[in-house]
């Protein structure tokens, strides 16, 4: 049985995309998950830019979050691919006694210690583990055709994240099918949305984005499906081709009977046409 959870929404979702948080909370609530908010949460140390500036800062900051969860006796549930990668990689690195000792010396300075007794889950993985419970809650099958976009850090590095395979991933497709959606076969090696280059090289970022939109655009899907808020921003705000995007929890919330108003679908820049109930 899954232990009780701390929800860790990260910083992109709560600041810019709170409607994705609303959808996630709706789904977890319907599932009857024992969830609380992680006390003293900060950014996980964003893994694309910030983490590469100072590895030890990332490791100690992530360790601090894991230590807080450990103290509260709950596992961590992330809503964002970036947070998942940050915390899961830190969790992995901290399995090494020498690394943990070194990091605990830093944490000692703020009166904390990490012992290594907490697990990190990502929303898609959590849904996958609770297939029966999720399926039972589907009251409004969503007859949409979707293009799966798992996003890099749901998949890679696969030996650390252990959520889905990196070649022909299948987890998103499976979950979406429970919600009544049809999922087009995605690329064998899922593309990068270019979000990691936004703010650094907008032209290059846009070219990567275009690479990942071309397939869904050509196959005329109703929307792109992603579990990652960084990818969501790229598709919903930066994309010029007009293919709508759905965040995984939005799809599940709608299929579990949430009204579009309740989960803030109106905040999407690229509007999505939903099948009539």
């Amino acid at each position: 049985m899954t232990r009780p959870l701390y929800i860790f929404p990260g910083c992109l979702i709560p600041t810019r995309l709170p409607f994705l948080e609303a959808a996630s909370r709706f789904v977890l609530d319907r599932m009857g998950a024992d969830c609380a908010d992680l006390p003293g949460a900060t950014c996980c140390v964003e893994p694309i830019g910030l983490r590469t500036m100072a590895r030890e800062t990332w490791l100690a900051s992530s360790a601090r979050l894991l230590a807080i969860a450990e103290e509260g006796g709950r596992d961590v549930l992330t809503l964002c691919n970036g947070c998942y990668m940050s915390l899961k990689e830190a969790h992995h690195a901290l399995e090494d006694d020498l690394v943990r000792r070194r990091v605990n010396e830093v944490l000692g300075g703020i009166g904390r210690e990490y012992r290594g007794e907490v697990q990190v889950h990502h929303l898609p993985g959590y849904l996958l583990e609770h297939e029966e419970g999720v399926r039972r809650l589907i009251t409004r099958p969503m007859g949409l055709r979707l293009a799966p976009h798992p996003g890099c850090h749901m998949l890679r590095p696969s030996e650390v994240l252990r959520l889905d395979r990196s070649f022909r991933p299948e987890v998103l497709d499976k979950i979406a099918s429970w919600a009544g959606a049809t999922v087009d076969p995605g690329p064998e090696w899922p593309a990068c949305c270019g979000g990691g280059l936004a703010g650094i090289d907008e032209v290059l970022s846009a070219k990567l984005l275009m690479d990942s939109v071309r397939g869904p655009q050509a196959s005329k899907v109703d929307a792109i499906l992603t579990p990652c808020p960084f990818c969501f921003v790229q598709f919903d705000i930066k994309q010029k081709e007009g293919v709508p995007v759905l965040y995984l929890a939005e799809l599940m919330a709608l299929a579990m009977g949430a009204s579009p108003e309740r989960i803030g679908l109106r905040y999407h820049r690229t509007k999505i046409a939903l099948p009539s109930p």
């Binding site: 600041t15 910030l50 800062t57």
Partner: protein
């Protein structure tokens, strides 16, 4: 194209051997180059960087292409030698940061993390949307910010943005 081997830098090669010993496993198969979405559009060139890094002919401070990695981790996932180009690139970035070279966007993000505990700014719009959606306010507590700040001071990010 060939790889230039000028300015052989022993100290750089030693440093890389210490922080990313796996880099030395690179066999120059080019698998990373084939799968890199940035290289496809003239951005970073992971295989070339690996060669130049391990041979010590790369100066991270002057190598602006280091910042054109989207960190998709495809290179490391595909690497048959376990040389982990993605992580080597991260280490090279860190070396550039220590040398004072950081893109403005990331310096700003680092400063925001140090002062607010978040990588993205909370705005009036954030508060308005959260209220409309019936979500808790979600402010980062002052204690949490202070702890994050203290960690930054002890581990490198603090130094990187205060010079």
């Amino acid at each position: 194209m060939g790889v230039r081997r000028t300015a052989y830098d022993r100290e750089m090669a030693d440093w890389l051997g210490n922080v990313a010993p796996l880099a030395l496993l690179c066999q120059q198969c080019g698998g990373c180059a084939a799968v890199c979405p940035s290289q496809r559009h003239g951005g970073i060139r992971p295989a070339e960087l690996m060669e130049r890094a391990v041979s010590g002919s790369l100066d991270p401070i002057r190598e602006s292409s280091l910042w054109l990695c989207a960190r998709c981790m495809s290179c490391s996932e595909r690497c048959p030698s376990g040389a982990d180009p993605g992580e080597v690139i991260a280490h090279l970035r860190e070396r550039a940061v220590v040398g004072g070279e950081v893109p403005a966007f990331l310096r700003e993000e680092a400063q925001r993390f140090l002062t607010t505990g978040l990588s993205f700014p909370r705005t009036g719009m954030t508060r308005k949307m959260r209220k409309e959606l019936g979500l808790p306010d979600g402010e980062v507590s002052a204690e949490a910010v202070a702890e994050a700040h203290e960690i930054c001071q002890r581990t490198g990010l603090g130094r990187a943005v205060h010079d």
